[in-house]
């Protein structure tokens, strides 16, 4: 091997598989625990299994009892949860109490709208945050620091509902509102990370040797920052889905965020719990994938 060349990168498959399995177990644990939490909420929420017909004075006691039996098929929580899981595996997520439509059908209709808005929003927020953070590296000084702190501080101080209203006034697309909510958090993290990366001794040494800025960025800065950036990618997915609820509710965008708000307003617990589980599943899977990629990136660098 000649001086200055690195040994070829080989993927340690055993370690990677172990990490993958650990993540899969964690994902299952989150789904099961989240499902149990959801089932508990539905089962013990005030009004569970109550039928307005029970108040009808014309019905006999036996008829009222029959109605109660009909609406309390699972008196114990574990029985209810087991039935819920069995049905969920078959793709049956139950019936929405407020719309009287299958939950899976509602999700199928609305999920693409939110997925598109969230992905475009994340792409916009990441592009802007990365661009400005890079700009900060070339225009170092108090002017950039103060102006970026004020801009991100202002955006962080605005509730996402107010940002949504501004976008309604200006008739701007929903994904830009999601980008506006996620951008300040991303920018602050990326900016600090790049400052830290450019202050690394090996980066300073590379600059002193006259290596070009593009090469330094690609070979040294990105290699240092990539695990943290991948982790941030996973977190930003969760942030973007969280922002989707108020934004879709106030901009009247027919996605799952609006559906969750509608379900909460109507106390439609089966719907809101299924939506929470779905988003949890997506964000945890996204986080796991990001961690996994970050691990590979660390190994490669």
């Amino acid at each position: 091997m000649s001086r200055g060349t690195l040994p070829p990168f080989s993927v340690p498959w055993k370690k990677v598989m172990r990490l993958f399995l650990r993540r899969a177990v964690w994902l299952m644990a989150v789904i099961l625990a989240g499902g149990l939490l959801g089932a508990t909420l539905v089962r013990y929420a005030p009004g569970y299994g109550v039928d307005e017909r029970e108040l009808d004075p014309r019905l006999s006691q036996a008829s009222v009892e029959a109605l109660r039996v009909q609406h309390h098929p699972n008196a114990n929580l574990l029985g209810y949860y087991a039935k819920y899981l069995t049905n969920a595996v078959r793709g049956d997520l139950g019936i929405s109490e407020s719309t009287q439509r299958p939950v899976s059908e509602l999700i199928h209709e609305r999920f693409p709208v939110t997925a598109k808005a969230v992905l475009l929003g994340m792409l916009s927020a990441w592009s802007l945050a990365f661009f400005l953070a890079m700009l900060g590296q070339y225009f170092r000084g108090w002017v950039f620091e103060v102006s970026s702190t004020l801009l991100t501080g202002f955006l962080l101080a605005l509730p996402s509902t107010v940002i949504a209203l501004l976008f309604v006034y200006f008739r701007a697309p929903v994904y830009l509102a999601i980008a506006c909510v996620t951008f300040p958090k991303l920018f602050r993290f990326i900016h600090n990370l790049l400052v830290q990366a450019y202050e690394q001794p090996h980066v300073l040494a590379a600059r002193a040797r006259g290596i070009g800025p593009v090469r330094i960025f690609l070979r040294h800065v990105l290699a240092f920052a990539s695990p943290a950036l991948f982790a941030l990618l996973g977190v930003s997915l969760s942030l973007a889905f969280g922002a989707a609820i108020p934004i879709e509710a106030l901009t009247d965008s027919p996605g799952i965020g609006q559906l969750a708000w509608f379900a909460a307003i109507n106390r439609d617990l089966p719907l809101v719990v299924n939506l929470t589980l779905l988003v949890t599943l997506i964000t945890v899977a996204g986080n796991s994938l990001a961690d996994y990629s970050g691990h590979l990136a660390t190994r490669a660098s």
């Binding site: 644990a29 625990a33 101080a157 969760s238 609820i245 969750a260 909460a264 106390r267």
Partner: protein
Amino acid sequence: MSSSKSLRLVAGLLLSAIFLLALGANFVAPYSYAKQFRNAPSAAPSAVHLFGTDALGRDEFSRLLFGTRVSLLLAPAAALLSTFIAGILGGLAAFLGGWWERAILASADLLMALPLLFVLLALRATLPLDVAPLISAMATFLILSLLGWPSSLRVVWAAARNIRESDFLLLARSSGSSPLRVIVRQILPSLSPVLAAQFWVTIPVFILAEATLSMLGLGVMEPLPSWGNLLRGLENPSAFQANPWTIAPLILLIIVVFCFQFILPSRGDLD
């Protein structure tokens, strides 16, 4: 005095002034927050109604003062409870170690994996919408504090673990100090800067979460005002054009959250 310290002083003074004004709402506000002037709905600002009235004829200035009191009293209370839970669980995880540590950290990770706003909606949906306004305010902030502790727990746990392995704790134990004395005299004073930082960080998060929930109609219920339900006035652009003071709660919210951002001690101060 350095610029960051003077900025922190200004932010602290501004926050104190707003906090005092909100605490004295009963004396400063000209009217009750629920009093309706039926002959003056959506009135423009005047000497009688400084910030005008809302669509139901309620004095906007009085509602802003009482709303500030609700948000600025309950958010710190919720942050205190959340930090307390994080402190207890983080401390237990660090000092008990083993399976206790793993179980507590795993449960915190599990809660952090759930998207906060979706879980907030799910929990809020278990409560009836027509609860008494004060109960709705309490329930909103209680739910926030019960869901907000996991992010602080990791920080507290890391700090507590460092203390567990410190020489001074070993010395205190070997000199025969009782466990209670070790906790009160050694551990708590060492953890207090971290707990204080977590407390201050959590307050604006809870203020913003309440504002979001209340604007969606799932937080503090009318007629009790909070910054969140006062911001609902912005949903009607024509009302905002007729009375620009409708934006006052938003300006106050931004000032307060900004002040909390500046008031936080920097890493250098903690060292």
